[in-house]
Amino acid sequence: MGMTEIILFNIAILSVIAVVAAIVLFFIAKKFKVEPNIMAEEIAEILPQANCGACGSAGCQDFANRCASSNADEFRSLYCPVGGRNVMIKIAQKLGYIAEDHEPTVAVLQCNGSCENAPDKVDYVGLKSCRLASRVFVGKTGCPNGCLRLGDCVRNCPFGAIEMNPKTGLPEVNPDKCTSCGTCIRICPRGLYEIRPVGANGVRVYVACKNKQKGATARKNCKSACIGCMKCAKICPDIKVENNLSYIPTTVSAEQYGKELASACPTGAIVYTGEKK
């Protein structure tokens, strides 16, 4: 066989294979055709694509599918905290539903054990991980419920909304960046984060302590621990004090009570984000 014949032979063979394969693929594509859900695709494009799971779905695509297949009633219970109200209005327009009004929320750290309030008692030289450290020992401050100040929340926040304050040693949530996706709640081994309403004019009041030990024991480790003195409960009867620990429900108006509560707290465990007295 000459060179030309080899080339021609190869071209012929490959052409035959191509034609056969094309026919087979044509029929397979016909038989297994998937109708794309155009509505879901379009909704997914509106979504922020953070895939954080804050909405309770497995990701943005899953959430889009749920939106697309929902009726007007079901749609009211769906909410993307990352995209917020604007995104939900856009989706509602597409579907012809009405977007429910959702109060904007933010994550807050329920610990005030800064370097000053709760000084380090020991050195920790192990892996910088709150989740490991909390299993190994009580933490540098000695408080069994307080912040370990090793920054698992900072490293894991998908929106970079949490930063370590080098002065206090505590992580700080940037309310502008926080989307209340809830990653910090899942990550923190001490369960110190809580999602609370941003509040009118961004003013919030909450108890920055989770320590349930007796007042004297808690104060040994941290100057600003809640000692369960009941002073706050006297100001606002909605506040419950259980196991030496106070909790301010989100229904308590920060604008009405905030200033008074923060100044009445003898240890400074109550944090008021508005103007101080």
Binding site: R131, L132, P144
Partner: protein, 439 residues
Amino acid sequence: MKKIKTFTIGGIHPDKFKLSSDIAIEDAGVPEIVTIPVKQHIGAPAKILVGKGDKVKVGTLVADADGIISADVHSSVSGEVIKVEETETGSGYPEKMITIKVEGDEWEEDIDRTPDIVSEITASAEDIVNIIRKSGIVGMGGAGFPTPVKVTVPQGKNVDYLILNGIECEPYLTADDRLMQECSEQIVIGAKILSKALNAKKTVIAVDENKPNAIKTLKKAVGIHKGVSVQVCATKYPQGAEKQLITAVSGREVPSGGLPIDAGCVVQNVGTAFAIYEAVQKNKPLFERIVTVSGDDVEKAGNFRVRIGTPSSYLIEKAGQKSEIGKIIFGGPMMGIAGVNLNAPITKISSGILILKDESAYKPEVSPCIRCATCVDVCPQGLEPYMIHSLIRNGEYDEAEKIHVLDCIECGCCAYSCPARIPLLDYCKLAKYEIRKKK
């Protein structure tokens, strides 16, 4: 001379620092106040039976086992209960403890306090398990698993090997070594009691090669009380780990996720065997143990017979400390836990207290992994710590589980030998915690 045995893969040779192996066990005496934790074992905390103001004697039951995986707790002193509340443990976390103010040293009458060795075993196999349960005995090597559970063989399983663990491969610690040198006969009788309860085919006491005195005394003791043999094992860390010891002595391997009984073996610490001897033959519940106090910051390292609940500071004072404490470790330097509370009580599982200077406890700078695979070579479980490390850094816990991170025995060989000084063990521990939490 029998062949010296060891496990097949991995292992390291850290410096021994056995400063106190020639120092006889000293009675630490009774402190003024003891705090006895009600959870000194793996499992549920025991139910407290006493209240403030109650009078107790040495050996009085103060807390009752709550469920099968739990253990009784006995008073180690005589005196008055002054409080029952949450007190800080060695790790700093509060736990329920019984605080007793010591008055005199009055023992329960039925405890046999004579020094005679009782060699005849009259108790039946069933009685033995019951006595062990009533005496609050737990694994004294460090894990604290309730012994009655371990001596109850599941149906359809046979015990081919009962192995007594006298390896003590951790540096510094010499509590088991001294116990074998001074109480070898009691340990051998304890082994025979265990063997009777388990109906074991073979009973072997495994001892590390670097304990010639203990080997000598044990060999003499097995000559007197027949039916037990001594197996010398090579000096290699972690020879004393349960799975590694089984491989060394029997040549078998415990299946991944399985128990030693799946390989037809039961491993007990020599300290546990001694406690069992005292419980069965002398009617004495577990309320004291041998503790090594050592480290490069103590005046004189030593081995002490200590009542459970004694504050660590009391023992540190006995050994004398040279300078301000840099680091305190409860247990050995490889697997022990760094403590934050000097007053933490001695428990059934405290094998030692180490006091190290600040400079010897420092952690060097960590540099990036160079993929040298030293950690893979030394891992006695055949894992790939460098791989686990990079997976955990990226939060891939499922992938880490697939490469069997749950088989890690937390021996620390990887972190010890890593030239980049990466805290590999910390990553493995983190992975195990997180994976178990999800389940």
